[in-house]
């Protein structure tokens, strides 16, 4: 089983990102669950989602304490919350950033400027850049699921073509 913890702020689409990850894995023929963790919900507050991917049915509902992968959609969360807590020794990190943040040094970090990609593709809603579809492209590049399944998951969920475009850009630009 592969366990991912996704950190975002309320209103950034972290919950949808988790669902897309589950859907993409599912289209790959895997079992997957996505579970948002609802604490005090309000726009802007740090929230967490748990995603599990496996070749057999997943029977775990409790929180992920030792993730294989940590995804940070908003790098400013790193200053508020220890996003790396419990990360497996050989675990990986994916951060939405133009460069590796100071606090992330020492971990196996991949990064891509999702915010920049969203702005470049004009994937902005009510002033906020959409991060949950581009991140799927980056995760596909990391091998979490196939590129085809990532595209399928995005197309099934969103009709606006900019989502797929941004995801493909993130796939190419992942560092």
């Amino acid at each position: 089983m592969y366990e991912i913890r996704l950190h975002s702020r309320g209103g950034q689409g972290g919950v949808t990102a988790a669902k897309l990850m589950a859907l993409a894995s599912f289209r790959d023929g895997k079992y997957a669950t996505a579970a948002p963790f609802y604490g005090a919900e309000r726009r802007g507050a740090p929230i967490v989602s748990f995603i599990r991917i496996d070749d057999k049915p997943i029977k775990i509902y409790s929180q992920i304490h030792n993730p294989d992968l940590i995804v940070v959609l908003d790098p400013s969360i790193i200053d508020l919350v220890n996003v790396f807590e419990g990360l497996k020794p050989d675990g990986k990190v994916l951060i939405n950033a133009p460069e590796i943040p100071e606090k992330a040094r020492g971990y196996q970090v991949r990064y891509v400027d999702l915010t920049g990609i969203a702005l470049r593709t004009n994937l902005v809603v009510a002033g906020s850049p959409i991060l949950n579809t581009p991140v799927i492209g980056a995760l596909a590049k990391m091998g979490l699921f196939s590129r085809e399944s990532a595209a399928a998951a995005i197309r099934e969920t969103f009709s606006d073509e900019r989502n797929l475009k941004a995801a493909l850009m993130a796939y190419e630009e992942l560092v």
Partner: protein, 368 residues
């Protein structure tokens, strides 16, 4: 059609298959997505129900009662305080012998306000005459909802059915879902006692002490008859859709020396604990109890029992454990865990089994 869905959306999708004529509901966290999705279906025309956005849960059940007695299919959903607010009408629905189907998203009771999973809400309705089933996966939420209509509307039953799903732990998580087309699996409703202006009658009139108890006995008789109906329905479902359900979901129980009994998602996560214990040489098995009313016949002899209750009856004990003791005479190690969404992992569950003390009650997080 195979897709990913949350527990709440799975319930709504099953309701769309069942096509009730009237849905009356009031929103409450964590049920809201059920009623929102149904409202979406009605607005986009994929569900032809009349949707009544009532002004309270008491009115939600009241409206379902008013609709149901005309002989049409009805549905509602609630949780926690909403369920308690409609408690009077929950009783009324069963007493009026109406095949209403309701999804309850299990949530703890305030005060303090707590929106996370706990079963006390629905268990407080266990005396009402409603049938109650507890599900543990998104697929099961869908399937149980479909079956609920068929069971409730069977002439031998004519009693309302409640489907319970854990708040947030199941209602809000995404898992895979096969959206089976119900087709004629749910036959059209024929309510023998529906209102008829051709044959006018009074319903629910004053009833004297010389007669009332007969009406109550009638409810119990149907509750007992529902056992056969549940079995037939689950068998027909397995035959038609290939997914088998029963009174309990048993995992590695055949040669088990200690059984873990629980309801809802904890009952499913217990299977992971079973695998861990087995690898340590402990012959554990998991028996996830699905039906609480009618209470199933459980064959528990010769095994040690660890019963996890995500509920409590103050001054008495965990409701599943005390029910088991009452019905089978078997003692158990009663773990009280998961109240208000308290985190309980497969490691914790394995620990309950390793540390079991039969005959004792253990409040996880409180007792040593």
């Amino acid at each position: 059609m195979l897709t990913i869905s949350t527990g709440n959306n799975a319930v709504a999708a099953a309701v769309r298959q069942a096509n009730p004529a009237v849905v009356a509901a009031y929103p409450i966290t964590p049920q809201t997505e059920i009623v929102e999705q149904i409202a979406n279906y009605v607005t986009n025309g994929s569900l032809k129900s009349k949707y009544i956005p009532v002004e309270s849960e008491h009115s939600a059940m009241a409206a379902c009662i008013g609709a149901s007695i005309t002989g049409v299919r009805t549905f509602t959903a609630t949780s926690s305080h909403g369920l308690l607010y409609m408690h009077e009408m929950v009783n009324w629905a069963a007493g009026a012998r109406l095949p209403i189907v309701m999804a309850n998203v299990n949530r703890a009771l305030g005060p303090g306000w707590n929106v996370w999973a706990e079963h006390t809400d629905a268990l407080q309705a266990r005396d009402t005459g409603w049938l109650q089933v507890y599900v543990s996966t998104v697929q099961e939420a869908y399937d149980a909802t479909l079956m609920a209509f068929r069971i409730a509307e069977d002439r031998r039953v004519y009693l309302p059915v409640m489907i319970n799903l854990d708040g947030f732990a199941l209602s809000h998580i995404s898992q895979q879902l096969e959206e089976s087309q119900a087709g004629d699996f749910i036959p059209p409703l024929v309510l023998d006692h529906a209102i008829s202006t051709d044959a006018p009658a009074g319903y629910g009139c004053m009833t004297s002490s010389a007669d009332y108890f007969r009406i109550r006995y009638d409810i119990e008789r149907s509750m007992r008859d529902s056992v056969q109906v549940i079995q037939e329905t689950e068998a027909a479902f397995a035959e038609r859709f290939g997914r088998k359900y029963s009174w309990t979901e048993d995992y590695r129980c055949e040669d088990a020396e200690v059984l873990i009994l629980a309801m809802g998602t904890l009952g499913k996560e217990a299977e992971v604990a079973v695998d861990i214990l087995r690898s340590e040489g402990i012959k554990a098995g998991s028996m996830r109890v699905r039906w609480i009313r009618p209470f199933p016949q459980l064959d528990l002899k010769g095994r040690e029992l660890v019963v996890i209750d995500r509920n409590y009856s103050f001054g008495f004990g965990g409701i599943l454990a005390t029910s088991i003791r009452a019905k089978t005479g078997e003692e158990c190690y009663n773990v009280i865990a998961g109240l208000g969404g308290q985190e309980v992992t497969y490691d914790d569950i394995a620990g309950f089994v390793r540390n079991r003390r039969i005959g004792e009650e253990f409040w996880f997080g409180v007792d040593a």
